[in-house]
Symmetry: C2
Subunit: 365 residues, 2 copies
Amino acid sequence: MSLGFEILARDGAARVGRLTTAHGAIDTPAFMPIGTAGTVKAMTPEGVAATGARIVLGNTYHLMLRPGAERIAALGGLHRFMNWPHAILTDSGGFQVMSLKALRTIGEEGVAFRSHLDGSRHLLTPERSIEIQHLLGADITMAFDECAPFPAERDTIEASVERTLRWAERSRAAFTPRPGHGIFGIVQGGVHADLRQRAAVRLVEIGFDGYAIGGLAIGESQATTFAMVENDVPMLPADRPRYLMGVGKPADLVGAVKRGVDMFDCVVPTRSGRTGQAFTREGALNLRNARHADDPAPLDPLCRCPACTGFSRAYLHHLTKAQEILASMLLTQHNLTYYADLMADLRTAITKGRLSAFQLSETNP
Amino acid sequence: MSLGFEILARDGAARVGRLTTAHGAIDTPAFMPIGTAGTVKAMTPEGVAATGARIVLGNTYHLMLRPGAERIAALGGLHRFMNWPHAILTDSGGFQVMSLKALRTIGEEGVAFRSHLDGSRHLLTPERSIEIQHLLGADITMAFDECAPFPAERDTIEASVERTLRWAERSRAAFTPRPGHGIFGIVQGGVHADLRQRAAVRLVEIGFDGYAIGGLAIGESQATTFAMVENDVPMLPADRPRYLMGVGKPADLVGAVKRGVDMFDCVVPTRSGRTGQAFTREGALNLRNARHADDPAPLDPLCRCPACTGFSRAYLHHLTKAQEILASMLLTQHNLTYYADLMADLRTAITKGRLSAFQLSETNP
């Protein structure tokens, strides 16, 4: 078996599952912290694990440029390099090279681009993307895809979807199956339900170990994102994990879980933590706000993380104002803990058949 | 007793001691990490304690401006504010307001200055400095002093020493004794042995709980620093702790311990950690150097810290090149661990009567 996936409970479209990889099991629904350059920013690996996360995302684009995929492979792979004993999903690099805009050219073969670091020329193809992900040692490899911009003409998106499907076949062919490792296909098609359905059908024909819902959360409304999730989920095999890419804020996660999504990644909790933003059971807070300057209360009295058990809002405010590194460390740890606990609460609600009544405020015990 | 200080072993001028404060005991010789703005930069308090440190230094100047001493007092004092259960020594603010140069005016009353943060006007006097340190809840308070620039005319330094002695009397008078708390006087006099001796005699007449050797490590040679330590130590009470301010690099610490110093503080290990510099049993390393890019070896194979037990030099090189926060976190933790272990090794050498043979390389087991 490439990747084990056992469904333990269902509630409506939602399900609780266990995804088994070469580097341990992940309870789903799960949120994957972003470890762009071989580190979840401002966190030790022990700190990431302490939040409850058992899988992180690594970025092919960043790692291929620095320090280089062959170098990481020679050093024993990404798990050993970053001292993360749990699972790793790597993206394909597609999304990030597309974002380079003026620095890249898309062709049938792949994407030619210049490094944002030193201007050096590179070609990323489906075959090279998969090779890099193998070199990194990803437990979950993503097919190389194009994420069309939003908004875009339907014709543009349709051509992009077709190319992404051809790239998906090449990615699948380039992937070397190993126990505990798998490859996910990515449904594209922007906000066009029929294009997304066509993509899903073709990806299932190719056959992947899991399926990502891509090309969303890039400018369209939350209602549209949810509509596309509702459109895609029934097209995907019920016994395989579903991963909504680049999503999102807490309410986005709750809504997508209710619609059958099992996995998420997003920069929001980590990036917010580095800019003084905290997610709490009482809503989002900006710690830079002067109203926290004299507040002896913890950030979130119900949170188990070090920021909440050890410090006051006044102290966290001070750290953010003084631009201390500890502010990024503590708020990132808090936000990732909040996200992990939210996912755990959602799993509990599904298991108890109470998901329809789940509100964010109900993450309170 | 204000501050307990028990001498447990002697070897030449050096001694092993135990300094007892309201927030626990400190084995001396001890190095005190700098916690400028209520945080040892890039470290959690648990991380600082894990290095072995049991006392940190807080900066009166920075804390009085932001977040403010009265605010910290209202929040329960600096220990609670920064969640540091062990001892804290606060400086007097004198050294840092003097460094403001164009922004400050020195008079008999004290130093008038403008904040580097917002230009606001402040007056720091001996009485206000002690009051701030009381508000912060320092276990060890430092007398308000002037650190004359180096080099300077003898007349300038002599006038400065005399004013510092008058300020020392005012500081001592303003200090409220409490169990487990104490105040240290500071010997000034630049590189003039006779001025320093005069200062030491007068400080001992006033009577302090410990004595700092100040005004050194600001540009003079290591040989001169050591000569001044040899000059000052015999003038100070044998049963009270001696603190060499602002020192230093590992070899400086070894030399000063051999000459009878018990306590140190310096930005070197923490600042170096944030710029890719590491102290190891094989000497100092610059992790930004490309020669580390492919090195699977740990930073220091004999070190017990998380940076050395979990990661390769190649990974630490990558983090420094990518300017990841984790680079600062890991290298700071390593450097403080190196310093703490160096002090522990020195204590062992003194206890065994082997200090004269102690070389830095002998920090290897």
